[in-house]
Each structure stands twice: as C-alpha cells, then as structure tokens.
Symmetry: C2
Subunit: 276 residues, 2 copies
Amino acid sequence: MVASRNGGPPMPYDENHVSRSEGRRRMPEEIPPPPWRRPKKAPPRVPLTQDRIVVTALGILDAEGLDALSMRRLAQELKTGHASLYAHVGNRDELLDLVFDIVLTEVEVPEPEPGRWAEQVKEMCRSLRRMFLAHRDLARIAIDRVPLGPNGMVGMERTMNLLRSGGLHDELAAYGGDLLSTFVTAEALEQSSRNPGTEQGREQAGVFADQLHGYLKSLPATSFPNLVHLAGPITSLDSDRRFELGLEIIIAGLLAGAGEAADDQVRTAGSPPAES
Amino acid sequence: MVASRNGGPPMPYDENHVSRSEGRRRMPEEIPPPPWRRPKKAPPRVPLTQDRIVVTALGILDAEGLDALSMRRLAQELKTGHASLYAHVGNRDELLDLVFDIVLTEVEVPEPEPGRWAEQVKEMCRSLRRMFLAHRDLARIAIDRVPLGPNGMVGMERTMNLLRSGGLHDELAAYGGDLLSTFVTAEALEQSSRNPGTEQGREQAGVFADQLHGYLKSLPATSFPNLVHLAGPITSLDSDRRFELGLEIIIAGLLAGAGEAADDQVRTAGSPPAES
DNA sequence: ACCTGAACACCGTTCAAGT
DNA sequence: ACCTGAACACCGTTCAAGT
C-alpha cells in the first residue's frame, strides 16, 4: 500500500550518537589491551566523515534545537576542533541542507491507487507533517530551502506521480507539490514556534490562546466588530484542526482546476466553482 | 474603493533616517550660534525614542538586509552605544515585531463590494505581496510571527470583514485569513531567497532555473519519469505566475467550503467538488 | 591528506558606573 | 531618568602550521 521511500526501514540512520562513548566501535568484542602495549590516551579514533557530522547534527537539533546547533557545539560532540568540520561540509548552511535531506527519508509518499487520490494526497501531507513534528526546529530549516538533495528528488518524483494520477495537468501538478509542501512546512513552523517542546507546551499554548481570546473579546466592538465576533473561532482552532482544514481547502482548490486548460486559467479573473 | 488602513498617506513614517545629518532639527531656521557661546561638540542631540529606533531599523533592513540589522549596527546608525537601545526595545526580537507592525501600514484591505469578492481577496493579497517585495527580508521576519501589533489588529479586522462578506462561515473566515497570509508570506520568502536584490537578480534566478532544467532533463528516465517529463513546468514558473496560481487555488478551495457546515466538514474524508 | 590552534571580525545581553 | 563602557559568553570562517 504505502511505500517507504527507499524500501529500507523508516529511520536508517543511527540516533545514539550523542552518547559519549565513541571510538571503540571497531572491535567486535571487548578485549583488554595487552599490558606491554600501553594504551594511547585516545585510542583508535573513529575518523570524521560527513555522515557522522550530519547524523550528530541531527541529534543536537532534536535534543536542543536549531540555536544550539553551532559548529563549535557540534565539534565538541564529535570531540574535534570546530575548524575540522569545514573539511567535510564547507558551510553551516550546507550542513543544514544535508540534515534536511537525511530526514526526508522518513516521509512516505503513497503509490497511486485509483479512486483514492484525495485521501492519498492527505496521507502524504500527514506523513510530511509527522516528520516535522518529530524533529525540533526542522521546519525552521526547511522553510527557506528547496529540497534538491537525493532524498528530496526521490520524494519529488513520487509526489509528482501521485498528483498527476488525480488528473492535474502538468503546470498544476508542478506547482501543487510546491504549494502543499509549503503549506505543511508553514503550518509545522507555526505550531512549533508557539509550542517549543511537548512537555507543558500544550498547556502554554492553551494559556496563550485564552489570553488572546480575552484580549479580542475586550476590543471596542465599534472598531473591531469582526474580531470580537470571531474571538472564539480565531483562538480555538488547534494545530490538528488547522492542518486538516488547510489541507481540505488546498485539495479542493487543486481539484477545481484539474479539468481546466493550463493557459487561460490564470489570466481569467474569477470563475470559482459553484458554492456547494 | 480601496481604503488605506489608517486613512493617512500610505507610508507615514520617515525613510530619510539613514542620512548622517541629524541633531539640528529643533531650530526652525539656520542661525549661526553667537561666538561667546562656544558650540558643544555634539549639539542638541535628538533624544533616542522607540520610533526613531524602529524607523532606522527599517532603513537598514531595506538597504542591507536582515543579517546586517544588528543591535550594534543600528546603534552606530543612531550614534549611540548599543546598550542604550535596550532602554527602549527590550529585545532584538521585539524590535523586529515593531518593524513588522509598522510596515503593515502599507497594506490595503478593500471595503467589501457585492459581487467582487474573489477579485477583492486577490487585491488584498497582492497588496500584502507588494509590501513584502518592497522591504528586503521582511518575509523572513514575518514567517514565524503573528501580527498582533496595532496595525496587525486593524488589518485582521478588515480582512475578517472582507472574507465574511463572501459567505464564509466563522471558522473558515478565521482560518482562511491565516492561510492566505501564510501563503503570501511563504511565496514572498521563496521569491526573495533566490532573488536577493532586484539588480541582476532576475538574471541570476534565470540561470539557476536553466541549470535545474538541465539537471532534471538529465535524470535517468526510468527512475524519474515524472521529473523528466515535468522539467519544463517545474522550472518555468516565474514568481508572479506562481503567486497567481496559488491564489486561484486557495480561493477556489475557500469557496468550495463556503456553503458547508463547519462541524462535519473536516471529519468527513473526501467529498471534493466535481471535476469541472 | 587530514586535522589543529589561534586569530579575525563579529554577535546579543547585562550591569555597574556615570551624568 | 537616561545613557555609557566594559565585560561576558558566545558566534562562523579562515589559514598557517603541524602530523
């Protein structure tokens, strides 16, 4: 039914890298060194590779967030000098590109099944959303980045395949994929920005919503009749509901344009579908 | 027809603040000081206010971008020590809140006219987009911020008024405003990130699009049939076209939900409108 | 070839001390 | 009351020097 993007397990990278006991991995079993061969103080150091750097960076991101992910902090975790990192990644920005690409592995894009188009598009978007919610601050990394890494390309191919199976013409499929992923990213960003962890974050968000509700209700009704009237709906939508609502709107919009010709669709002014 | 948000001129704040000739404003005319009253080396200094700080910050943003807008750079422009700023703004983040709110003054939200709903929603979004494109990196500031400042509240009130005039039920109006502004912000962000200034930025973007087109075309057609097929549409959409397409999609989606009841709309699975 | 230390040119924020 | 200098605890990136 639903295919993992590379056929392997959903999370092929090692997440245990933040532990402090590295460097003895090469030995298959734990044998004490012979006493006449006195141990170097830093035994067989596992060499620095781009993979280790990226995986460790993701670990810091998950545990402490984007602001904690500095080149110096990362080097410390890897027990190197921070300048050494530049031999393998070139840039902090490039590093974030790589981190983003590696987590895209977790996203599942369904193989098209006839008659289930809308539902499958939703499944894809929900999977993408789950990825964002599973990795702290990842939405902040993704929001101004185009996923052109290897996993990004595979995801894009599968996404185009799914979107076109619903009858979207070329231009609408090409842009629709962008629009959907932008939507999911932006929604995840907004959710995580006012809900930092998962600890008491839900409560914190609730307190803020209550305060905002009180504030909106307290506005002068002559100048702000709509905000006073809508104080409830504006503040009561939780993240899940917002997400599903937005998904519904965009998918309906895509389907409304599905049959039309590409070229005159944009130039003509209105022509929305009938109101239900 | 179209009302400016506060009835005044569209840009009520002074933009000439980056000039280096401040401090003699208090004198109505230019009179040389009497020779026995020897001039202090720094004559009547104009006092630091939150307004001056915010306006100057916007000037730096426009001219040099968000990364150049540091507290130290800002203090230098204002001829103060950087620590002095904290007496008036508390925070760099709070400063950015204030900058964002001040430019919201430029956005025009139309007074509803019967029969022109879709077109008026587009006008509002285009006005918002113009604001973003007029101020370098403003989209980066806006993307993770909820506009709760005075100008933000006024804009929200007017937006809710317009959206409800089209028959959207409360929840859809409340969320629709969010969705539209998120869309405009994200699209402006993407445009400005690959198109830094306006100088040769369009050419730079064109070169990138050509490279990407060549790359997509060169992919193995057996693994990436859709990307190879869609190389044209994916890379040929310019920013204006993307924007109008997305607007069309979202508005169509909003109208599709306009007549439905709020409560079971989200829970029910599919039920999209007929395909044209 | 790979890694390191040290240096460069910056940051945001705080706070005791001055006027 | 408002402003300042100096300090604190950081940044990303470069580069000559080492092994």
